[in-house]
């Protein structure tokens, strides 16, 4: 049982975890962490710890699910039983089924489906530890995993949520804020194409608050995008740096 604290954000604009209204939780991104998957990425966002892996393009099983003129994207969002406060059954819940669908629909716009007809791409997301905003962190990691696998993309996809706690619109709600707050608006975004690929909301927001939240979430996405690019480039830059050092000696 969560005991509701009196205020989620105090008069000075400081939240329970010390952040200001428009501050992101700390983020760590790593690309290429699994040797068997065609592409993979790991994200730590606040206390969220999520692993994403991609297999494909490859022949689909069962075959009747494949399309003759394009590739099919499948996505599985799943939470480990130990990832939440009260142990969660490993069987897929209705929430996981819905999230698998919306995450898939957030990544699809970034692909070129006609390039690989009759094949399938499988994206697996495993939430190892959850603390609010897992669907956003999952999308950010999944997009990196797809890029890591060498599948061509129109753009990276990055995701971040905004919402309202007490009377304030804030960025990046963690679990307690999501449960006790007024509204939560997760957004996924393709930064170079200025395209929103996931948008959900629960709670109550006046129209102007909603607009503020969406814009705040997009700004959050842009900040995370910088880290996404860095994570991708880091994998290949290291070698270049080593050689520079060697030759300078």
């Amino acid at each position: 049982m969560i005991e509701k604290p009196e205020k989620l954000i105090d008069k000075k604009g400081v939240r329970l975890d010390g952040r200001k209204a428009d501050e992101l939780r700390p983020l760590k991104l790593e690309v290429g962490v699994l040797s068997n998957a065609d592409g993979s990425a790991y994200i730590e966002h606040g206390k969220n710890k999520i692993l994403a892996a991609v297999f494909g393009p490859r022949e689909m099983h069962p075959k009747h699910l494949s399309r003759p003129d394009r590739m099919v994207l499948r996505c599985r969002y799943h939470m480990a039983p130990f990832s939440v406060q009260e142990r969660k059954s490993p069987a897929p819940s209705r929430r996981e089924v819905e999230l698998s669908k919306v995450i898939r629909e957030s990544l699809e716009p970034a692909l070129f489906p006609e390039l690989y007809p009759r094949t399938g791409i499988d994206v697996f997301v495993e939430v190892l530890q959850a603390d609010g905003g897992t669907r956003c962190a999952s999308i950010t990691a999944a997009a990196l995993a797809i890029a890591d696998s060498g599948i061509p993309m129109r753009d990276l996809v990055v995701a971040c949520a905004a919402g309202k706690i007490d009377d304030t619109v804030v960025l990046d709600l963690y679990d307690a804020e999501d449960k006790l707050g007024v509204a939560d608006v997760p957004v996924a975004y393709m930064p170079n194409l200025n395209a929103v690929t996931l948008l959900q909301m629960d709670g109550i927001l006046a129209p102007d608050e909603f607009e503020k939240a969406v814009n705040m979430a997009i700004e959050g996405c842009k900040k995370i995008y910088v880290l996404q690019k860095e994570a991708l480039k880091t994998k290949y830059m290291n070698v270049k740096e080593e050689i520079k050092e060697e030759t300078e000696e």
Binding site: M153, R154, D155, L156, N192, L193, L232, Y236, I243, T247
Partner: protein
């Protein structure tokens, strides 16, 4: 008309590379007069063509390519071959056997069985059909000796080097025969496993450092150093 990158700059999917009258080359795409990268790699401008040399890509079959693959299934009139690509390839029995055959499984598995490796050429491939292979040319067929290694297919040109300079140098220094499948599968056959391992080490280093300069010299140096080390260890 601007471009937004420097030569050999590392770019990620979606990054804007150019605007205006440019052509979208390898691993890029054009939308509304703008050219974006579609894979992570090194951006380059060739005349008016913007290209990205991908650092990570999988093999897309092309008719005429030499590939190395493994038999995964023996069927009624041919074999299914895994060529490490989104599409599985087929090798028809009629291509391998010089005489008309009776469709009995046993006969085919005696020619090529599951797990066998072959060097083949892609005879045909299009959007609606899986790649068809052929082994009806000299140098193609079942592999009986040597070691197999895999590299990202986009690195194969680097392993070949300009006018074959890199691959010739490795063959010379290690005394190995090396067949480069354009699908990123490489067959190394040497007089000893030591020689084979030496060649494989060199190729792995090329894969890791393919985007750097002065690589041919560094690989040559590496091979010479390793050979000296091995000589010393023998004594």
């Amino acid at each position: 008309m601007p471009t937004f990158f420097e030569a050999k700059q590392l770019v990620t999917p979606g990054e804007l590379l150019a605007e205006g009258e440019y052509q979208a080359g390898e691993n890029t795409y054009k939308e509304e007069n703008k050219i974006y990268a579609s894979r992570i790699g090194l951006a380059d401008l060739d005349n008016k063509r913007v290209n990205v040399v991908a650092l990570r890509a999988f093999y897309q079959p092309k008719a005429g390519d030499i590939v190395i693959g493994a038999v995964t299934e023996v069927g009624f009139n041919g074999w299914t071959i895994d060529i490490k690509s989104p599409y599985t390839a087929m090798l028809r029995a009629s291509d391998v056997l010089s005489r008309p055959f009776k469709p009995q499984n046993d006969e085919l598995s005696q020619v090529l069985d599951t797990g066998d490796l072959i060097v083949a050429k892609i005879a045909s491939y299009d959007r609606a059909h899986d790649p068809q292979l052929t082994v009806g040319e000299p140098g193609l067929g079942k592999i009986t000796r040597g070691q197999i290694m895999r590299v990202t297919p986009t690195k194969i040109p680097r392993v070949i080097g300009r006018k074959g300079s890199m691959i010739s140098m490795i063959k010379q220094e290690t005394g190995c025969q090396i067949i480069l499948g354009l699908n990123g599968v490489i067959l190394v056959t040497g007089k000893t496993t030591d020689d084979e391992e030496l060649a494989m080490m060199a190729i792995r280093k090329i894969e890791e450092e393919s985007h750097t300069t002065g690589l041919t010299d560094r690989i040559m140096q590496l091979l010479k150093e390793e050979k000296t080390k091995r000589e010393e260890n023998k004594l």
